[in-house]
């Protein structure tokens, strides 16, 4: 099968936009991505739209009602926090399968504030605070503490992830925050679920991101190869059975499985990757994924953050966008926003936060329940 390329990609600045509708937010990113490659909605042969909050609300069609109802097929996708990556992958697959030459993928989300998860009082009584905690900060705190149990990873090491990612976002105008948070600030912030303080939880924001994907033939015909990004691997996994899965969502096994498949598909290994945008929904989660993605041996993740290897300028920079912790985490948009970030570096256009000489990058998202999406991207030759 011929290769598929990202020819246009962009995101809006993440923030809080209660006055806008979900389709309006999605259409903004769609138009930015179209402008990025000089195409219009009339050139698009299909739309793949990722959104979680209005999963039954035909968001893709409503985006077309904002920017051009051309009658193309629309697929609406929901896959927890892997929603955007799944929409992108469906778009990619349609081009790889030669169904279409050029398609649009959009991810969009409008978020409320406050704790996610832990609700679900269907019948009987609420179980939150009675049978432990089902909030997302707690679930990821427990996943982090499993790493502490195995390798002695400390609260301070988890906190350093937030220091790094907040620092990175000071160089990203599209991030929600541009604020330095020193270690003591992170560790002394309000404790939400130990070991995650408030500054170690991703920010609930509104946002959207979009990508135009084209076949090699079409990208050449349109003269878009000079800025094109080759999709070298696209992998989606669900969580294989694990003995504790009923009470402890497993974000590790599905990531390891996806990473192995993605490296094989791309014909590269972790050492070939120049930058990574991974799913730091909580600071504890980022630590786990250093090992899950093969950036270091098991048990070495704490050392990686201590030694600065994952910071901008280090051996393998992780989340130079600021990550979900500081750029923000609009669930359905996240998986395309991280493709925008990596693509921007591969194009050498990331400004102050540019990873010098970046040639190959990897994006990773996890949707609890669970879904893992990994993409490996490379600047077109």
């Amino acid at each position: 099968m011929a290769d598929a390329y990202v020819v246009g990609v962009d995101m809006i600045k993440f923030g809080r936009f209660p006055e806008k509708s979900v389709p309006q937010l999605g259409s903004e990113a769609a138009l930015l991505a179209l402008d990025d490659c000089g195409l219009t909605i009339h050139d698009m042969q299909a739309l793949y739209c990722g959104n979680l909050g209005q999963a039954s609300g035909m968001v893709g069609q409503r985006i077309l009602q904002e920017i051009g109802q051309t009658g193309i097929p629309v697929v609406n996708v929901a896959n927890a926090c892997a929603t955007g990556a799944t929409a992108f992958r469906e778009a990619w697959a349609s081009v790889k399968a030669d169904l279409y030459d050029v398609v649009l993928a959009v991810g969009v989300e409008q978020m409320g504030r406050g704790l996610l998860g832990g609700g679900g009082g269907s019948r009987g009584i609420s179980k939150e605070g009675l049978l432990g905690s089902g909030t997302m900060p707690s679930v990821f705190a427990e996943a982090g503490m499993e790493h502490t149990r195995q390798y002695g990873t400390t609260f301070e090491q988890f906190a350093k992830v937030s220091v790094k990612n907040h620092h990175h976002s000071t160089m990203n105008a599209k991030a929600m925050y541009q604020i330095e948070t020193p270690l003591e600030t992170v560790m002394n912030a309000e404790m939400i679920s130990y070991p995650n303080t408030k500054l170690m939880c991703s920010v609930n924001v509104d946002g959207s991101a979009a990508a135009v994907i084209a076949s090699e033939r079409k990208a050449r015909e349109l003269g878009l190869m000079d800025r094109a990004i080759k999709v070298r691997a696209s992998v989606l996994t669900s969580d294989p059975w694990q003995e504790r899965d009923l009470v402890m969502p497993d974000v590790n096994t599905c990531t390891r499985k996806a990473a192995a498949a993605a490296y094989e598909m791309a014909g590269v290994g972790p050492d070939d990757i120049d930058l990574i945008e991974l799913h730091d929904c909580f600071a504890t989660a980022e630590i786990l994924h250093y090992e899950n993605l093969g950036l270091c041996e098991d048990g070495e993740a704490g050392r990686l953050i201590d030694d600065g290897e994952v910071a901008l300028g280090g051996r393998i920079p992780v989340n130079v966008s600021g990550g979900l912790l500081s750029k923000g985490h609009p669930l359905g948009a996240t998986g395309i926003a991280n493709i925008y970030e990596v693509s921007t570096h591969l194009r050498g256009a990331a400004g102050q936060r540019q990873v010098e000489g970046a040639r190959i990058g990897l994006t990773h998202v996890i949707g609890l329940g669970s879904a893992c999406g990994i993409h490996i991207l490379e600047k077109a030759a």
Binding site: I125, L131, S133, M191
Partner: protein
């Protein structure tokens, strides 16, 4: 309204005679343990080979977190714990009778599953509930 407490979750069983317990299912093919009743095994895919088992009230702490912020009306801080039961099965619940301090909580510490009123919570019909908790094993 029921004349006695209802179980907080369906895999908590309250027999007419004797003590409450947690019920699970074990796959007769691969041995995987699940909470509550089910027909098929999601580990090996075996169909109709599940056996109902009574889960142990003894276990050990696998992982935990200390919850400091929750929804309105929920007392914090408290310890949310993941416990591996002897003989199979993993359950989640509140670890009680410990200080909510990581220095006072040891991974692998032995715990007992104990049964008590569900923190006074009642449903819309005024029914009381029985729940389970984890308590550090003293001896």
């Amino acid at each position: 309204m029921a004349d006695r407490p209802l179980p907080a979750v369906s895999h908590l069983k309250i027999p007419d005679e004797g003590d409450p317990y947690l019920e699970g299912s074990r796959c007769g093919v691969c041995g995987a343990t699940f909470l509550g009743a089910r027909h098929n095994c999601s580990k090996c895919g075996a169909r109709g080979k599940m056996q109902t088992v009574q889960l142990s009230n003894k276990g050990e702490l696998y992982s935990y977190c200390i919850v400091h912020r929750s929804f309105p009306g929920i007392d914090v801080p408290y310890v949310s714990a993941i416990v591996d039961l002897e003989g199979g099965g993993t359950v989640k619940g509140n670890l009680i009778d410990v200080e909510p301090d990581p220095a006072k909580i040891d991974f692998g510490m032995p715990v007992d599953v104990v049964y008590d009123d569900a923190l006074g919570r009642k449903d819309a019909d005024g029914n009381s509930y029985l729940s389970y908790f984890f308590k550090p094993r003293t001896q």
